[in-house]
């Protein structure tokens, strides 16, 4: 492990990669601050740039920097404007915005930055410990287990979609999977479902789909609903310092939430949003009665908890990505797509075959967190000026970057028409409350899922691998339970509630 860390340090501290992480953090903060643009859109827009770098470590470092920056930027707009750019920072605005209204915006930003830094750094240490352990177990897996594991991942994402949403999330996953079957597969060498169109021969482009699923609907919403893009002056940000007492009171919160957030982040489908809400709720419940009253009115603990938890969860979400090659969230799915485009297959072999990528990413997480703290924090009063850019200028630019991203990726104008078409479909799907992240995750995992499934079928001459390999069977049972349990429990709770209403 020590050797790995040294390789990582060497790679991460090269001038190019340092610039990447600094640039990524700044760009991420900049764009992440714009209300309505979440990390997924920003990473989708940055992918063509990252891919054209050609170096997988640099690309992943850049994108990870953008990811962290975007989350930090999202917290900034939550605190200053009460306009969270992403669901993961909604809990931040509960206490952050009241603090800013009391004229303590600078202090709130500092607490957010320190909490994020601690959450991210502790998360990175935990990642260093758990990722190698998990990947050494994962090396024992065969294609049958991989197939089952991916099914578990996809079901978990659907299961965490929330009550009443499981069927929709599964539907979206399946839609992503069937989109992945379009074009020529690696195993069969024959075009499938292309409807005779040459443009579909190589399948749908992942970047186009990522842009269409995330960046374009966000931009269209900003157009359709002007109240969503609250831009305007955010007032003066001064006095960034916090007192010793405040530091003392948030220290235990940060410690607890780093751990809790990390482990929630590891679960596929849970991620930063659940971690931040849960972190907030847990801290409020265990706080002494007097401090409990403060929550929601500008409590430092209430601000530190979700901020720590969401950053730790972001780091945690890298565990399944790097060790199993299975993304647990939309963002890590996009990162996975970028890695595949760069000819790197994340998974247990990554640590063996490309240790420099694996460790450089982890080391650059520390650097990224450090940069957010020492570089972005003092710059925040200036970066916040971007909130004053009028939307009449902003929106055409966002649309233009979406178009450019799809065009650069494929160098093909037909791709732009596909982008618009998919973008319209995605916007309608969002109207109807269908989650879009499962679609993209399904699309990205589709190829691998089918390959592993086919390989197991060939090895066992049929589907007998399901019951002949106990681990595969076990994983598939878990997948079924994950999908069925939430609906079952909701049904039972409803039945019980109905019974009570009847005077039972």
């Amino acid at each position: 492990m020590l050797e790995g860390i040294l390789i990582g340090l060497q790679t991460a501290f090269s001038l190019q990669n340092l610039l990447m992480v600094i640039g990524g953090c700044l760009i991420g903060t900049f764009i992440g601050m714009l209300p309505g643009l979440g990390p997924m859109s920003i990473i989708a827009i940055m992918i063509p740039v990252a891919i054209s770098l050609g170096d997988p470590s640099a690309a992943l470092i850049l994108l990870a920097g953008v990811y962290y920056g975007a989350i930090f930027g999202g917290s900034t707009s939550s605190i200053l404007l009460n306009a969270p750019g992403v669901a993961g920072t909604v809990a931040t605005s509960f206490d952050g915005y009241p603090m800013a209204r009391d004229g303590k915006a600078g202090k709130a930003l500092t607490i957010a930055a320190i909490a994020s830094f601690c959450g991210g750094s502790i998360g990175a240490i935990l990642l260093m410990i758990f990722a190698p352990m998990l990947s050494s177990v994962a090396l024992l897996f065969h294609s049958a287990e991989y197939f089952a594991l991916m099914v578990v991942g996809l079901s978990a994402i659907a299961a965490f979609a929330g009550t009443g949403q499981v069927a929709k999330a599964i539907m979206m996953t399946l839609l992503g999977l069937i989109m992945a079957t379009v074009g020529e597969g690696a195993l069969f060498n024959m075009p499938r479902f292309t409807m005779g169109l040459m443009d579909l021969q190589s399948g749908f482009a992942f970047i186009t789909l990522a842009m269409a699923m995330f960046a374009l609907p966000e931009a269209l919403y900003l157009v359709m609903d002007p109240s969503r893009s609250k831009t305007g002056q955010s007032g003066d940000i001064k006095d960034l310092r916090i007192t010793k007492d405040e530091a003392k009171s948030i220290a235990p919160v940060v410690g607890r939430q780093s751990l809790q957030g990390f482990f929630i982040g590891v679960l596929p489908g849970a991620g930063a949003t659940i971690a931040s809400f849960l972190g907030y709720a847990v801290e409020r419940n265990i706080a002494p009665e007097k401090e409990k009253q403060e929550f929601g009115k500008g409590s430092v603990k209430g601000l530190a908890a979700p901020e720590t938890a969401n950053n730790a969860a972001c780091t945690g979400s890298f565990v399944p990505l790097l060790t199993l090659g299975i993304p647990g969230s939309g963002t890590t799915a996009i990162l996975l797509g970028a890695l595949i485009a760069l000819n790197v297959t994340p998974g247990p072999r990554l640590m063996v075959d490309d240790p420099q990528i694996f460790w450089a990413v982890i080391i650059s997480m520390y650097i990224g967190n450090l940069i957010l703290l020492i570089l972005n924090l003092p710059l925040i009063p200036y970066i916040a000026k971007i909130l004053a850019v009028p939307r009449n200028f902003l929106i055409p630019f966002i649309l233009f970057f979406t178009l450019m991203g799809a065009y650069i990726g494929q160098n093909n104008a037909t791709e732009l028409l596909l982008l618009v078409g998919f973008g319209i479909c995605a916007t309608i799907l969002r109207f109807a409350d269908y989650p879009l992240a499962p679609l993209l995750i399904g699309f990205i995992l589709g190829g691998m899922l089918e390959d592993n499934f086919s390989r197991s079928m060939q090895l066992y001459d049929g589907i007998s691998f399901i019951w002949e390999r106990p681990m595969t069977l076990g994983l598939l049972v878990i997948a079924c339970l994950l999908v069925i349990l939430p609906s079952y429990r909701a049904r039972r709770a409803r039945a019980r509630a109905a019974g009570v209403a009847d005077g039972d």
Binding site: K168, D225, P396, F431
Partner: protein
């Protein structure tokens, strides 16, 4: 019927068509030696189509119920608000994107992009012409330089008839 169930119906149709292709039309052209394989190109699609149809039916028939009204979730847009939305602007911008896609090659990057950025702002109600043109011009130049020179991806700057 609520919008999400209508969409469920459309998705059900997509899965049915996909399933039809997988079950009935795809295997016809399969080479005889491949037919002895335990796995055919249509195997995985067949599984997916069956699952898709089952889940589609669950959505369309409304078998899974949500226990909290969606209006409670602030990040969700309730489509009944649709009337208050500026659909016209969004439609025009989408049209503009299509025009950009069609014009990018023939008109060249610079004209197409400056036109797109200026028209985009105009659609959104901006009328400060000089500012718009200057901002769009600078941005176009910077992006062209970054893509062409830094990233090394060819973007034809000028219209096709000018030969570049």
């Amino acid at each position: 019927m609520a919008l999400d169930r209508w969409i469920g119906l459309i998705l059900l149709g997509i899965f049915a068509a996909y399933g039809y292709a997988a079950w009935f039309t795809m295997d016809g052209s399969l080479a005889p030696f491949m037919q002895r394989n335990p796995i055919w190109p249509s195997t995985f699609p067949k599984v997916l189509s069956v699952m898709g149809i089952i889940v589609g039916l669950i959505i369309v028939l409304g078998l899974e119920k949500s226990d909290k009204p969606r209006e409670e979730n602030p990040s969700v847009i309730v489509y009944r608000q649709l009337k208050e939305f500026k659909l016209g602007q969004a439609g025009l911008l989408l049209g503009l994107m299509v025009a950009y896609a069609l014009l990018l090659r023939p008109a060249g990057f610079i004209i197409a992009t400056v036109g797109f950025l200026v028209m985009g702002s105009v659609i959104l109600g901006e009328r400060r012409w000089i500012t718009m043109i200057v901002v769009a011009g600078i941005a176009t130049g910077v992006v062209w330089y970054l893509v062409q020179v830094v990233l090394g991806i060819f973007l034809r700057p000028l219209p096709a008839f000018m030969g570049v």
